[in-house]
């Protein structure tokens, strides 16, 4: 049995484990098993690579092995620590960062392969060869494409990470940004073609520089609310880049895993953009709220206040309570207290459900993760399509830290920037309690007519404090 056979069979097993793992991750019951399977696949693939024919062919160049082990140890130790300590609320930027690293790695692989080909050409200038001849034509094309996509995903994800992590607050929109980006894109493509038809070093360096700047420029004008879609897009792009570089290296595990992620990521991006009612082209080519400010529709009436005691009693004698959590709840770290509140209500025989809008939190499903962290079982959590028919049968809808996803303007006001976005029909509940810090507008700066509705009572205060007060009220009943 040759070592190559062992390597290839192991790669095949790893690819199968990735697909089964991803399949497992698509249901809450098997999700945990799914990631473990994929993890085993990764471990097998990484270990057998040490006896890969390309590595065994090295005669005693120990420095390469030393560097490989060193990079593996440092990278693993850092990422393990970073992954274990990151707060659940900061998960989106962490995923962006890890994703960027993958894209960077794919681009770096392409760089090495192109440099190797260039070195071969430079060794014999008289032959007048070009990259497209030294590497096989198809290999050169996919290699250059993978380099472009990987570089864009690398810097783009880093910008996304910096923005979500609050390291880059403002959306710097340069005049004619779209035009600049388009010009940059065309220049990068032309430079990529130049790389194919040359044996020089300069075009290769210029090509990578342009591609890296392009990635940053694509991400810079994109607003915070649209970031999840963009991270998902960069995730799909990284997958594609990995698949292409897998072709360059003749590595089927990389081709399969990369392409699977490319396809799955594209679909996920599409699903997210659809849930937000923001076509991908809008996300990429228009900053949210950077257009002419929509004349804020004059809202009539005033916000009516309620005290925690009255709110608690209202819920205690309710038949069904639906809780609508938003990112504000997670920021206030109120989810643990809210879960305590839910258990108290359940003990009194109140039916309690959580309603999650597809874009609640910073990424689709992010709110589910935050609730799961607090110990809320997933069968109490319902998504928009399941819960919307329930609102007319709901005694109290408790909105905590959510705003745009319950804004009825999305249904009625064509001039609103969120017009057309599907929302939770909280206004159809019998009573509505909104927990909010103060009277101002939220994250997006839009007025919310729900707050002025006859059925709505405002419960002002910090999410965690309010939840605590409600728990006390219920305990004393």
């Amino acid at each position: 049995m040759s070592t190559n056979f062992i390597v290839q069979i192991s790669y095949l097993a790893a690819a199968a484990l990735f697909i089964f793992g991803l399949k497992g991750m698509s249901s809450p019951r098997t999700a945990r098993r799914g990631i473990v399977w994929a993890g085993i696949g990764m471990l097998i693939a990484t270990l057998v690579t040490f006896i890969h024919p390309d590595l065994l062919a090295l005669d005693g160049i120990a420095i390469n092995y030393v560097l490989i082990v060193l990079a593996l140890v440092i990278g693993a130790a850092w990422a393990w620590r970073a992954g274990k300590t990151v707060a659940m609320t900061d998960m989106p930027q962490m995923v962006a960062l890890f994703n960027g690293m993958g894209g960077g790695a794919a681009a770096a692989i392409a760089a090495i392969e192109l440099l190797r080909a260039q070195t071969t050409i430079a060794a014999d200038p008289a032959a007048g060869l070009v990259i497209g001849q030294v590497m096989r034509i198809d290999v050169a094309i996919l290699g250059i494409l993978g380099a472009l996509i990987g570089s864009v995903a690398f810097t783009g994800s880093l910008i996304a990470w910096a923005k979500l992590d609050g390291r880059m607050r403002r959306n710097r929109v340069v005049p004619a940004q779209q035009l600049i980006n388009l010009a940059l894109f065309v220049a990068t493509i032309l430079c990529g073609i130049w790389v194919f038809f040359t044996g020089e070093l300069l075009p290769i360096l210029l090509f990578f520089a342009l591609a890296l700047v392009l990635g940053a420029f694509i991400a810079i004008p994109i607003g915070g609310a649209d970031m999840p879609v963009v991270i998902s897009l960069f995730n799909a792009l990284t997958g594609l880049a990995v698949g292409f570089e897998g072709y360059v290296l003749g590595n089927p595990a990389m081709i399969i895993a990369g392409t699977v992620v490319g396809a799955a990521g594209s679909l996920l991006t599409h699903l997210m953009a659809k849930a937000m009612n923001r076509p991908l082209t809008n996300v990429l080519f228009s900053g949210f709220g950077t257009g002419p400010a929509a004349a804020a529709g004059a809202t009539e009436g005033e916000q009516k206040e309620i005290q925690a005691e009255d709110a608690g009693i209202m819920m205690a004698y309710a038949e069904q309570v639906v809780i609508v959590p938003g990112y504000g709840m997670a920021v206030a770290q109120a989810q643990h207290k809210i879960w305590e509140l839910v258990q108290l209500l359940q003990a009194r025989g109140v039916r309690v459900k959580f309603a999650i809008h597809p874009v609640a939190g910073r990424m689709p499903g992010h709110m589910n993760v935050l609730l799961a962290e607090a110990g809320v079982p997933y069968d109490l959590i319902f998504d928009m399509d399941e819960i919307n028919p329930e609102f007319p049968k709901t005694t109290v809808a408790l909105v905590i830290g959510a705003n745009d996803v319950v804004n009825p303007s999305a249904r009625t006001d064509a001039s609103s920037p969120i017009y057309g976005m599907p929302i939770l029909d909280v206004d159809k509940a019998e009573n509505i309690i909104v927990v909010k810090r103060g009277k101002g507008t939220g994250f997006s700066g839009l007025e919310n007519p729900l707050f002025y509705h006859d059925k709505t009572r405002m419960l002002y205060g910090d999410g965690q404090e309010v939840a605590n007060q409600l728990v006390q009220v219920l305990k004393e009943l």
Partner: protein, 96 residues
């Protein structure tokens, strides 16, 4: 081992269909863990990075190769840790 063009096309096509099918029926509650999980899976780039650094020659190739393995390992290990942490928390009422 280089894969011939046509065979690769079939691999690309089938893998794309597999990826699409697997995601097509995913509940929204798993979108974030799944994005993180697929992010982990493209960490397989570590295998390519090891091979690339393995046959790198000269200072610049070695340096870029070292960075490639470093970044790829971060992608794979970090992706696994955060996905596992998220999925570990999903429990139904019966399991509690």
């Amino acid at each position: 081992m280089l894969i011939e063009g046509y065979t690769a096309l079939y691999i690309f096509m089938l893998a794309a269909i597999a990826g699409y099918e697997v995601i097509a029926r995913v509940p929204v509650i798993l979108h974030t863990p799944l994005m993180s999980g697929s992010n982990f899976i493209h960490g397989i780039v570590v295998v390519g990075a090891i091979v690339a650094l393995g046959h790198a020659e000269g200072f610049w190739e070695l340096l870029i190769g070292f960075i490639a393995v470093l970044l790829a390992t971060g992608n794979a290990v970090g992706g696994y840790v955060v996905t596992e942490r998220m999925l570990e928390m999903f429990k139904s009422s019966k399991q509690q």
